[in-house]
Symmetry: C2
Subunit: 338 residues, 2 copies
């Protein structure tokens, strides 16, 4: 019966015994140094330093029923737009000594569910999800976990809990308004396949609807769906030039596609915007610096990360209880490409 005694490893008990105090006092010394007398504190610190003792937070978490780990699930770890948000989350978490767990799930609800299950098992104190569609099981797990959950990908009307985002549909409409104002009438849209990509669908919907209100129709043949990567953007441009050579302007959903299209124009010697105007759904360093600079929608990605992290932290610290909805907005930045 019982358990074989393995080598005990360092513990507060050991530190305490070497410092002439109880384990409890060591615990206090580490979490609230002010609650311990200076002499004792110094002895404890000396022992810890001598031993190279690092407290076991697994045990601490079990005992206190609290953790400082926050989980993030993004569609992809490779994407620059997520990198901005991740940096924001990471920076905000670090300030409060919280830690970040991260994974990607593409557009798969099943994969997202598996990740969520793993994080809840790990008893993270909060979860940030970029996608806004979730499996029934995932929703049940999240509801049962009783932790903060922040969605960041779209200003969804039925949040799991909290949301920090912007309206993709409104962004599409804003870009439509820009195209109208610029006087374009023969317009195309290019993106990855919209199936299982709610955000892109919303963006396209907002764009197409906005144009229609101005009397401009984007025919289905000019709502292109291409493969990922810069070659996808190049292909979209080629297709447009071949099937509808009089097209004046294209909105791309994603900097990789837009960049691919701009490079294709350079290869073909087509001037931008005189030959064709190009805009992108997402601003970023590349988009800004290309020649010409590409008109794009600017979202405060870093700020979204910071805000999402703060919501989780506040909740974990017990300072805030209810769901929060924050619309961070966006702006259309016009550059030389339109």
């Amino acid at each position: 019966m019982g358990r074989k005694k393995t080598e005990p490893g360092l513990s507060m008990k050991l530190v305490g015994s070497l410092a002439g105090v109880s384990a409890m006092t060591v615990s206090r010394a580490l979490r609230d140094p002010g609650a311990v007398s200076d002499a004792v504190l110094e002895r404890i610190r000396a022992v810890i330093d001598e031993l190279g003792y690092v407290p076991n937070r697994v045990a601490g978490s079990l005992s206190s029923n609290k953790t400082t780990q926050v989980a993030l699930v993004v569609p992809s770890l490779r994407t620059a737009i997520h990198a901005e948000m991740i940096q924001g989350i990471s920076d905000a978490l670090r300030q409060h000594h919280f830690q970040l767990m991260i994974s990607d799930c593409g557009n798969s609800m099943a994969l997202e569910e598996a990740q969520i299950r793993g994080y809840v098992a790990q008893r993270v104190c909060g979860i940030i999800l970029h996608n806004t569609r979730h499996s029934e099981a995932a929703l049940r797990i999240l509801a049962g976990a009783g932790i903060a959950c922040v969605e960041t990908g779209d200003l969804t009307r039925q949040p799991v809990d909290s949301v920090v985002s912007y309206s993709n549909a409104a962004a599409g409409a804003a870009m439509a308004a820009h195209f109208v104002e610029a006087g374009y009438t023969r317009i195309a849209f290019a993106s990855l396949p919209v199936k299982n990509r709610e955000r892109i669908r919303a963006l396209r919907q907002g764009f197409v609807t906005g144009l229609r209100k101005a009397g401009i129709v984007v025919p289905p043949a000019l709502r292109l769906e291409v493969e990922p990567g810069m070659q996808g953007g190049a292909r979209a441009l080629s297709t447009i030039l071949e099937t509808a050579p009089r097209t004046q302007a294209v909105l791309f959903a994603g900097d990789v596609l837009a960049a691919g299209a701009v490079f294709e124009c350079q290869r073909r010697g087509i001037p931008i915007p005189a030959g064709i105007a190009i805009a992108n759904s997402d601003d970023g360093e590349l988009i800004q610096n290309m020649v010409p600079g590409v008109t794009a929608i600017q979202y405060p990605r870093y700020d979204i990360g910071v805000r999402a992290a703060r919501i989780v932290i506040e909740r974990a610290l017990g300072r805030q209880s209810g769901p929060v909805v924050q619309d961070v907005g966006f702006s259309v930045v016009r550059r030389g490409s339109t």
Copy 2:
């Protein structure tokens, strides 16, 4: 004495009592379903499903003294080259149901040390570090933790434990050989400030030394250090054109700088490579697709991530004990820019 009884929360004990078995049997059912009779297994699963029970891995980790969390510390979360490696790590970890914790530390050893301390407190089963210089305290903590540590940024000669990388110095030398072969003699190098950036220093050293062996000197004034971002690359190019207009070729350390330089050439109407040749230390989607394509050194970033993760996993699973050193190599990919 004792602790007030809070609401107990779900546990294996509860699940077991509802299924008519002991907590231990529930534990077995979850970790090794084959060790439990079918009837019992089914009852347990039904109860778990009914309750929405998610096992508490914090408790499990404390009891077994094992975790499935792996930590990664990179200089920056924003960089595309790290994104590739991160994706590789993430994919490899997921296969074995390990989880990834991540943070960035810039080039600060102090910050890295703080991160390491936090991860060891969390009892991660392995740590992957991109930087190869560490504080004394960090080294002590790592030594005491008794877990795998894999460095990925350079093929350092004094690894903490394991290494999966390539030689930055050799890469620089290879690019020097390419420049020599291409017939360039008036050559420049541009990077971020090398202070506290060992990898860049090694690359430059390899490059400059390689050229010198061919009788080509890169004067100090043409070893530029610029600010981060594409504007840094643009500035480097401008400076070179103004101070040494006869320069034939430049090696940039980093795709952002190289891209900035290419864009600057486009703005100025300088043809590449006829006006000036440009190469980059890092291959990537942008570098490949620019017009013209940029000659670059290709490292198997994704593969580095996969290998590093596997080393950690093998060690955590007890299948492998000793340090591993893997030189993944690199290759120079020549494109239109040189």
